[in-house]
């Protein structure tokens, strides 16, 4: 795959358009077919292969325009204007164009031939021209390029240097200065600086003037490189650092996540829930439609000499996951419970059959709260209403039994979130046994690491026999894995 396309796809991915490798291959085929010559055609064609939702199309449009910004036509026109102006000096030309110049990424300029023509007449000091020409010969390639004011060539050199120093890998904004310097070094800034020093040492108006022009040219070059790095950064890097932070957040322990990150975590949790739901939600509702399943009927009735005696109907019934969650919200686990509740809230939004309960000393249902209030409020209410008092598992399970035990059937998945620290009180494992016997699946999520289980007042070992699964759950990654498991086992 060629580099330009690869970079473009990377930029798209960076902008949250999901591009699979298969689609990347398609894109490559498309480019083979339509080529880079017709910008609109390329855009239309790629828009069919890469973005796959209306939202992504918008992002694609923007990214494409940014990425393939270098517009040859404008370039030509500007060069023509420069020729027409005639007396314009090289440096002002450069400055005037600095603002408009696209940070050329996509292609070489065709305007260069026109430009070089313009610049010869453009030099104001005709008397020194011959002498200057002699001096120019001795300068470094970069200096010559700058003096020639060949913007296209500078753009190309800049892009090449960017390529050489791996600008594509730019990650966070603090690297911008570093990359700008590297690019300049690669382009030969040092030689240019030397040239300026050398020229200043010499006598003569021509040399001094040339040095001055070089200095101005260098300023222009610096500005250009900075702009270029900036634009590349916007394309390739994770601009606000959100990806990086999401990544770190999802791996750090829930208890270590600070309050200011809650909003972000909330967003992640919602995203996660959505993704899981998209994967797991089923719409199978075909049940007893009254359609005769001829294949099965024939097979079944072979024994009766082919007389359709035992009739089979088509019936498929797949249940949506029915989930009951019991959440410890007492002080010791409150932080984790926060996330668990958040997750349950998100699940509630997308899945109809989630019942949530919260407890510390006593237990109560919070499904209604979740349904009526927005997430912040619902969680705050839950915590104030049920989060006071010390944990009493026996009592809480007793409450749960009165409230909801009858609703638990062989299709229900029960999730308990708690550290199983019952303050040396009666843990109430016999109720846990009842739940276990009735439910399809019982899962215990413990925010503590395994080696602290059964230590001090933790009674995990008493509950463990009555759970189908016991898991440590203290990071978002854990949570995601677990919920995926719940959805799979429940479907």
């Amino acid at each position: 795959m060629d580099q330009t396309l690869g970079d473009f796809i990377k930029a798209l991915r960076n902008a949250d358009v999901r591009v699979s490798s298969m689609e990347a291959v398609d894109a490559h085929d498309v480019v083979d077919l339509v080529g880079y010559t017709d910008r609109d055609l390329l855009k239309h064609a790629l828009a069919l292969v890469l973005p796959k939702t209306a939202d992504e199309k918008n992002v694609f449009d923007y990214t494409f325009d940014q990425f393939f910004k270098f517009d040859e036509l404008d370039e030509m026109e500007m060069a023509d204007q420069a020729v027409a102006a005639g007396d314009a000096t090289v440096v002002p030309q450069l400055e005037e164009s600095a603002g408009q110049e696209g940070q050329g990424n996509g292609g070489g300029g065709k305007g260069c031939s026109a430009r070089t023509g313009a610049d010869g007449e453009g030099t104001p000091d005709v008397t020194g021209a011959v002498e200057q020409a002699g001096l120019r010969e001795q300068l470094s390639p970069l200096s010559q390029m700058v003096l020639a004011g060949d913007r296209a060539a500078i753009s190309i050199a800049m892009a090449e240097a960017g390529e050489a120093v791996g600008l594509r890998n730019i990650h966070i904004f603090t690297q911008k200065g570093l990359y700008a310097r590297r690019i300049l070094e690669h382009m030969g800034l040092k030689a240019l600086n030397n040239d300026i020093t050398e020229l200043r040492k010499r006598d003569g108006v021509a040399a001094a003037e040339l040095a001055e022009r070089l200095r101005k040219g260098r300023e222009y070059l610096l500005a250009q490189v900075r702009d270029y790095v900036e634009s590349q950064f916007l394309l390739h890097a994770d601009v606000d650092g959100s990806h990086l932070r999401e990544d770190i957040l999802s791996k750090s322990r829930l208890t270590n996540i600070e309050r200011r990150d809650y909003r972000m975590v909330q967003e992640m949790v919602r995203k996660m829930a959505k993704r899981l739901i998209a994967i797991h939600s089923r719409r199978r509702k075909v049940f007893d439609r009254g359609a005769l399943d001829i294949r099965k009927t024939l097979a079944k009735n072979h024994a009766y000499d082919g007389v359709p005696f035992d009739i089979r109907w088509k019936s498929v019934k797949i249940d949506r996951p029915k989930v009951v969650a019991i959440c410890d919200v007492s002080g010791s686990v409150a932080k984790v419970a926060h996330f668990m509740l958040m997750f349950l809230y998100s699940l509630n939004e997308v899945m109809p059959n989630v019942r949530s309960f919260a407890f510390s000393g006593r237990l109560g249902e919070v499904t209604g709260l979740f349904r009526e209030h927005d997430v912040e409020e619902a969680m705050a209410k839950t915590l104030t209403e049920w989060g006071q008092g010390s944990t009493d598992y026996g009592r809480a399970l007793q409450d749960f039994a009165t409230l909801a035990l009858n609703d638990i059937d062989s299709r229900t998945t029960v999730i308990v979130l708690g550290d199983a620290r019952s303050n040396y009180g009666d843990p109430g494992q016999e109720i846990m046994k009842k739940i276990h016997d009735r439910a399809k699946w019982v899962m215990w999520l413990n925010p503590e690491e395994k080696n602290t289980w059964n230590f001090a007042d933790s009674v995990m070992r008493k509950f463990q026999p009555y759970c189908h699964q016991v898991q440590v759950c203290n990071s978002l990654t854990h949570l995601e894995r677990i919920v995926s498991m719940v959805l799979r086992s429940a479907t």
Binding site: T4, M22, V34, L41, K52
Partner: protein, 326 residues
């Protein structure tokens, strides 16, 4: 970065797209560059084309126009909840099978004549075992019909989002390999790959696996210029003035907050209605009487009626302005 690969025939391909555009226009389907490019790519990459967009922007029409354009038969599969492979792909002709077993029962003794012992009889029967699950008993459904069409076909899988998720997964083999597997017979590969269109109204998100295998075309509501051309193509008898006015009016409606925005098909219907009523220009009274053609909810109609005068006036003004400023 600057490597511009000279692709052979890139210009020729641009021409090919232009040819497609002109061809579709002749058939009365006005395309934007995006649409004609999509048809071109679908043909050349041999990939199915997934068309999404609000209802009534011509998703299904596109498939029909393509079938006309290519001169291939259109095979249409309307999706609905509960659609399964026996209705989409193939079914055995059970009735015929039963009938034949009954009829052939008599001949069974002939077949078995002279056979000695059970083993030999079984052997003889095994020779006939596949008879009942052969092509004679195969009932073709749309997907298979499209795959087996000798000249190729245009396959339209309409409103895929209405079908169950399982059906979507079932389509994957067909969409990526252009082949289908029938347990009793084996794998069938399309002789000529059909041009496949899938449409979706986005009532639910289609799976990534499916989207990955398709080109994705999103058809939005057309802008005023395109819509004028569409009306001109579909309702050629209407006067240019009225056409511009009614398009401007509909464009205004789309900017409002309505339950269901009027689509192109509704604009066309409205144009026909106005033509039938011999209207020359938009008048508030006539608009009021025919509003039910473009708006399908009472709430919407009431909301628009309240500001009918202003809207009509705006449309009349907009129609006079040259297109660039609309």
């Amino acid at each position: 970065m600057t490597a511009v690969k000279p692709v052979q025939g890139a210009a020729a391909n641009a021409d090919a797209i232009e040819v497609i555009r002109a061809g579709f226009e002749k058939l009365g389907y006005i395309t934007n560059p995006q649409i004609s490019t999509s048809i071109f790519l679908a043909q050349n990459l041999e990939k199915p084309l997934l068309v999404e967009g609000p209802p009534g922007v011509g998703k299904t029409e596109l498939a029909i126009a393509t079938s006309n354009y290519l001169g291939l038969p259109l095979v249409r599969l309307q999706c609905y909840e509960g659609l399964d492979e026996s209705k989409a792909l193939y079914e055995w002709k059970y009735g015929k099978q039963l009938l034949y077993t009954q009829i052939l029962r008599e001949t069974l003794s002939d077949v078995l004549q002279g056979a000695q012992g059970l083993a030999q009889s079984m052997d003889r029967l095994h020779k006939f075992s596949d008879v009942f699950f052969s092509e004679q008993f195969l009932e073709e459904r749309p997907l298979m019909r499209a795959m087996r069409a000798p000249e190729g076909a245009v396959l339209l899988i309409d409103e895929l989002d209405k079908a169950d998720q399982e059906f979507e997964s079932f389509l994957l083999e067909l969409l990526s390999e252009y082949q289908i597997t029938i347990p009793e017979i084996g794998t069938m590969k399309a002789k000529v790959k059909p041009v496949v269109f899938l449409t979706s109204n986005n009532t639910r998100e289609l799976s990534d696996a499916l989207k990955r295998r398709c080109l994705h075309l999103y058809i939005p509501f057309p802008d005023a210029a395109l819509e004028r051309r569409i009306i001109a193509a579909r309702v050629p008898d209407i006067s240019a003035r009225l056409r511009n006015e009614l398009v401007a009016f509909v464009q205004e409606l789309r900017a409002l907050d309505l339950k269901k925005l009027p689509a192109v098909s509704e604009t066309i219907d409205w144009a026909r209605t106005l033509l039938l009523l011999h209207a020359n220009t938009l008048e508030p009274e006539m608009v009021r009487n025919t509003l039910s053609v473009i708006l399908k909810f009472q709430d919407d109609i009431e909301a628009v009626e309240a500001q009918l005068g202003a809207l009509t006036e705006g449309a009349l003004k907009a129609a006079e302005r040259p297109l660039g400023t609309v």
